[in-house]
């Protein structure tokens, strides 16, 4: 008998309930996996609508030490990025993935390259699949469009998120992920730049991931702009 069979066997014996035959237990599990609940209450801060949702998203981003600027349309992105790079004394260079949102943009004086993260990346750019107003979180889906290494190796990480992709809370994000059939290897939720309090219990930004996180909140859905 394998370790698997022994472990599952012990659990089955311990959980056997004469009042609840096996088909009944299986039905309960199947129902829960189909999303029939029961569901926990959705907190009020995960239910913001309309303009209040965007306001909350931006306020939460700032509360977790991220910065945010608004961009009126996708073609405006290179100029907004150049401005941020200059203000942060960063070289006019950016590393990004094959996201369709970035294809065909005129980067101007910025030297843009496509690919995965390397050991030293002063600035990287990703597009978040969703923003989440609940906690000021960015939801990124890994893949060729947005390689996961760009999210963690950039000294400064720039993230584009479209206003229409800002969700109220986790429940809406799950619905979005399930509905779009997206099945990335990793879904990365990012809430601010990396940090640690392991030295003297004092919070310090820039542990192993980005030291700074800047969000470009772009009007609309991205589809009409692109």
């Amino acid at each position: 008998m394998s370790a698997r069979d022994r472990i599952l066997g012990r659990l089955r014996t311990a959980l056997a309930d004469p009042e609840r035959p096996q088909p009944e237990r299986e039905a309960a599990v199947a129902a829960r996996l189909r999303g029939e609940g029961p569901h926990a209450p959705v907190p009020a801060f995960a239910q913001a609508h309309g303009q209040a949702r965007l306001t909350q998203f931006m306020a939460k981003l700032e509360a977790v030490d991220a910065t945010v600027s608004r961009v009126s349309s996708l073609p405006e992105l290179p100029r907004a990025l150049a401005h941020e790079l200059r203000n942060r004394n960063l070289p006019a260079e950016i590393r990004h993935g094959a996201d369709p949102a970035f294809a065909g943009l005129d980067w101007g004086a910025i030297s843009a390259s496509t690919g995965i993260g390397r050991i030293e990346e002063p600035a990287t750019l990703s597009r978040a699949r969703y923003g989440m107003a609940e906690t000021g979180t960015l939801v990124l889906a890994s893949g060729p469009d947005n390689p996961v290494t760009l999210t963690f190796l950039g000294e400064t990480h720039f993230v584009v998120v479209f206003e229409d992709d800002v969700k109220a809370g986790l429940e809406e994000v799950w619905a979005g992920l399930r509905g779009s059939g997206l099945d990335p290897r990793t879904v990365n939720m990012v809430t601010g730049p990396s940090r640690s309090a392991d030295i003297g219990q004092k919070l310090q930004l820039g542990a192993h991931g980005p030291v700074a996180l800047h969000v470009f909140l772009v009007s609309g859905s991205g589809l009409t702009d692109a």
Partner: protein
Amino acid sequence: MSHAHPTTPAFKSNSRDALANANLQTALRNARGHFVDKRAAAAAKVSEFEQIRDAGREMKNHTLAHLDLYLEEYEARVTAAGGHVHWAESAEDARRIVLEICRSVNAKTVNKGKTMISEECGINDHLAANGITPVETDLGEYIIQLRHEAPSHIIAPAVHVTVPEIEAAFRKAHAHLPPDRDLSDNATLQMEARRILREKYFQAEVGITGANMLIAETGQSVIVTNEGNGDLSQSLPKVHIVMASLEKLVPTLDDAATVLRLLARSATGQEMSVYTTFSSGPRRSEDPDGPEQYHVVLLDNGRSNMVGTEFQEMLRCIRCGACMNHCPVYQSVGGHAYGWVYPGPMGAVLTPSLIGVEEGGQLPNASTFCGRCESVCPMKIPLPRMMRHWREREFEKRLTPSAARYGLSLWAFFARRPALYRFGTRMGMKALRRLAGGRGRLASLPLGGGWTGERDFPAPQGKTFMDQWKEARR
């Protein structure tokens, strides 16, 4: 110190040493309040917090009651995504499985994200003994690895180390850097560790992480971190090994949301930790990065024996550390005194379950039953009640020290004879009042030196409970 040999039976002497350790006391004083205040503020900001805790408890109870089925479901999803699930009955099994995977890719270096299951299994020592270098990449874990120590807290592993001690450890370990470099503040220390570990991420063949959750619906493993080291450890090497225990299962993404809303708030007072990563399987054919192999080591190590017993509820634990942050015993002696992987109240319940009451039976006694742990536990685990169960088992197995057994038998003799008991308490009260004289307090007490060494004992006032009861009923 390594966890290979638990020092839990020496809890008393460990505690005495801890209380006399000036550096440790400085570090503990520094941490005290830090976690407590932040958790309280975070919980107070969510008006639905109590309902979410209740929902979390119900969700975990449901999962545990159907754990066999959810595990099978989860395994099927991992396999469908191209991953491998390895079932480990014991720590020894887990060590063997991890080593085999590492050897299959000729690994020289293994990067570690923070994982308590790896601590429980003694993975680092085992890899090192077999010529593979484990590198801890969580800043706190890195610090204690340099100091050859075990974590003293489940989420803040180096909470017992002072800043000057960290500087000393870095100067010793990073001897290739200029000796006159400035390491005078936290920022320069953190920067130095960042630079050194950044290179290591690109060298390792295997990355090992833990999992805060395993999701049956999707077959994903979830890590929740602040530093980003776990993600670099799992994204850059060829092989990702997830080490997780059975009870990390949750049914669906919606159930994961419940845990996420409780976890960071209870742990560090954050609304959400910086990185919450959901991983499923190895890199897809179109993926430009990510591991080529994805393995999950599912550890039992005694947990299936807790199911169906009075300790089953302990398996609701999501490892936030709130119980130890709020525990007056933990706050005084720190985590190492507990002598094994899991300290504080959750450790006092879990340790005897995993290594036996013979080894771990001291820990459930290290509690004043003040109940703060249960009051802050996001999963509402009745920790004091379960510590009481362990004390009962310890007594049944005749492991309790003879003085305590004798005292308890003496008390039981009177407790079974109510008339004698009431007479005794009345006499005792009178005697104590006389001993206290007019002060109402006793500075010393026969057989009560443990109490009166630190504080006065209040002399009994008024009448016994039974006398008051009788009067009130009249």
